[in-house]
Amino acid sequence: MREFTDGSTAIVRGALDGGCNFFAGYPITPASPILMQMMRELPKASGVAVQGEDEISSIGMCIGATLAGARAMTATSGPGLSLYSENIGLAIIGEVPLVIVDVQRLGPATGGATTVGQGDVQFVRWGTAGGYPIIALAPSSVAECYALTRRAFDLAERFRCPVFLLTDKELNMTTTTVEVDDYEKPEVRRRSVLPASEPPYRYLPAADVPPLAQYGGDGLVRFTGSTHDERAIITKAPAKVAQLNEHLRAKIEDHADEIELTVADLQRGATTLFVSYGVTAGAMREAVTSLRAAGKAVSALTLQSLWPVPERAIREALTGITRVVVAELNHGQYRREVERLAKAAEVVGLNRVDGELISPEAFEEAVR
């Protein structure tokens, strides 16, 4: 059985099924359908949805609510993500689980309001001062919008950090057909709450992630956006600050394999590899079908997790490949990540930044 639906609806359902009970957002196309649906649906689940006075307050409320026990999500597009920047840093240093949906549109600034783009890929990675790792997932279909939203809630809890769901105008606002059985339901872990006897932070071993300390429980809970010791007391002691920062790095980078999520469609004998993500990966799949029907060997790798870079899957897919085509709706933001891994192969970009999609024909033409 199939339904006629869109990515926004799938994200909302994924969030609700994944335990989301707090949402705050500010209207911006193409993310507004998520805000409107969350405003309508969350009260039914005894949750809270608010329209903030701006994007800054929206993400701020999400962070506060999370510390008070909520599982929070916010959704925006490029200009709103710019305003999230300082609070993304706060969520990183304070180790706040949070799901941030970025429904990309063509930028910069107001840009192509509202046409499709994938220009925020490096922005979400480096979008706050200081430069610390985050996690980003990128669904390439409506069914994946559902599954990866659930996955984002699970990862946010597992690693106590902001997790981005990077989608785009096309995935969120185009209605399409989904086989209902294709909605995968990855397990979303429950929140484990820190016992009152333990301090709210822990830095050793560096890659370990202690449970979240929540307000209103059996103990006193401190939270700070300044460099801090395990008790959340502000410190500038170099040894302690180094421990904190190494922890923020290691807890994500040392678990890259656990986060990595890709779909490898590799063909024996193929020397060309397509690499893509998001809506562009859909056109890639159509092109692969056509090319193989025409007797051409080609491999394809869909990246469902973008950050940290799924290096293991990319390296495996590169075996025997002499030419890699990295397709994305920007000037080649992810190509550089593939280039540094593809030592033997030539890496070329298939790019478009005019508010239109990359077509399957463009993929087919990119094969020599």
Partner: protein, 441 residues
């Protein structure tokens, strides 16, 4: 850590760490009054969250044995709002400086407007004490600061008047020297509303030496600015976190959205993707007609995709719906060359020139006479609305044209479109079914 069970009367909510503030700084007195207010209320410290802003006052939370949140500059009210909304039973106290009321002005206004149950203490010393004595939104006109060496040219923000005019439940102004400060804080803590205390004080590091200010000049400045002190405002608007829960109560437990599968009941002869573009005007029900066609495709065992394009001014200009029907899953929703187009207006035609130009003689165009000149190699059929057996309202023309075109194209059975119209029963369903019938009978 506080043990989880018994609560004995607390004589202090301070911890053992001494304050870090400059000699003579008003923060000492204000925080002592806060401690006294907390003692007088005997609140469970685990139920109290001190949310501090940035600036010297932002250090305050570290000296209290309560829960605490120290965030970013000007945003303390947003975190506090989130905490209060998630846990309305917690007592949430915001400590911010006059700097925070500037950079966080939008949050201050809107929190007041919501009357969210926070106690906001503004440590107002008329300048940025932590960063070198720069002027703030509350610096009086003429005052000398690090960034107003010739005297401040801006007039100060009247914080109390602003929040009082915008929905706050409790507004008080005074100074760090006031004997009743802790009683006023306790009063604010007891009132479940947006309660703000604008507490004027001395910054002995910067503002005092630059402006020869003193306890006495706080009073004269008040007079010069025409501002009042004391309890300035009380109102009884509903508190937002409670109001939200009251308003949500009737919805609680209602079913959450689930997939809405459409079971195929008809068959389609399509063996390849078919691309149909409908180009009309805003308000012409183009998108809803296209949605019925998409659902009809699912009812016929096909896959469908619908991509809409319309200007941000939704009631004027073009409205385009691009549809794909396919026997296979659709992974790419762009359309370069449509198999068919339905042209309903000049607005629509003006946006689809490239697609019309890409069409070939075997492709089909259905056009209303109003659509104007059409440049295409496709075979064009003009739709004559006069042949309709029923009078068509402007909201029915799109669906009528879609039904007529689908019948002629033969890609989806007309019965499937009729069935799609009745998927959501109601008056509209009846009207739509009649329109489809009129076009295809």
């Amino acid at each position: 850590m506080i043990p989880p069970t018994t609560i004995t009367a607390l004589s202090t909510y301070r911890n053992d760490t001494p304050y870090p503030f400059c000699p003579g700084c008003g923060h000492h007195a204000i925080l002592d009054h806060l401690n006294a207010a907390l003692v007088s209320q005997q609140l469970d410290p685990r139920q109290v969250v001190l949310v501090s802003d940035i600036g010297c006052s932002g250090l305050s939370d570290q000296y209290f044995a309560t829960s605490a949140f120290h965030g970013l500059h000007g945003r303390s009210i947003t975190y506090a709002t989130g905490i209060k909304l998630a846990r309305p039973d917690l007592k949430v106290i915001v400590i911010m400086g006059d700097g925070g009321t500037g950079i966080g002005g939008a949050h201050l206004l809107n929190a007041a407007r919501r009357n969210i149950g926070l106690t906001v203490l503004v440590f107002n010393n008329f300048n940025f004490g932590m960063t070198g004595g720069q002027h703030s939104t509350t610096t009086p006109a003429g005052a000398i600061t690090a960034t107003t060496p010739g005297g401040n040219l801006e007039r100060p923000l009247d914080i109390c008047a602003t929040v009082a005019a915008n929905g706050a439940g409790y507004v008080w102004r005074g100074t760090s020297f006031d004997k009743d400060l802790s009683e006023r804080m306790a009063e604010a803590l007891r009132s479940e509303c947006f309660a703000l205390l604008d507490i004027w004080e001395l910054c002995t590091a910067y503002y005092v030496p630059s402006n020869h200010s003193s306890r006495k000049t706080l009073a004269t400045t008040l007079d010069e600015l025409g501002m009042k002190a004391g309890l300035l405002h009380r109102a009884s608007y509903p508190e937002y976190a409670a109001a939200y829960r009251d308003a949500s109560a009737p919805l609680r437990g209602k079913p959450l959205p689930a997939p809405r599968p459409i079971a195929p009941r008809f068959a389609s002869p399509l063996d390849r993707p078919f691309r149909l573009v409908i180009a009309g005007s805003a308000g012409g029900k183009v998108r809803s007609a296209a949605k019925l066609a998409g659902e009809a495709a699912l009812l016929s065992g096909l896959w469908a995709a619908q991509r809409d394009d319309y200007p941000i001014t939704v009631k004027t200009g073009h409205s385009i719906a691009e549809l794909i029907f396919s026997p296979r899953e659709i992974d790419y929703t762009g359309i370069t060359r449509p198999d068919a187009m339905i042209l309903l207006s000049r607005d629509g035609v003006s946006k689809v020139g490239r697609q019309l130009a890409a069409m070939r003689p075997e492709d089909r165009v259905f056009a209303l006479p109003d659509a104007g000149e059409i440049k295409t190699k496709a075979t064009v059929r003009v739709i004559d609305l006069a042949t309709s057996p029923m009078r068509l309202g402007s909201g029915q023309v799109a669906l009528y044209s879609v039904a007529l075109a689908l019948k002629e194209l033969g890609v989806i059975p007309v019965e499937a479109l009729e069935a799609a119209a009745t998927l959501r029963p109601g008056e509209l369903a009846t009207d739509n079914a009649k329109t489809i019938h009129a076009a295809t009978a």
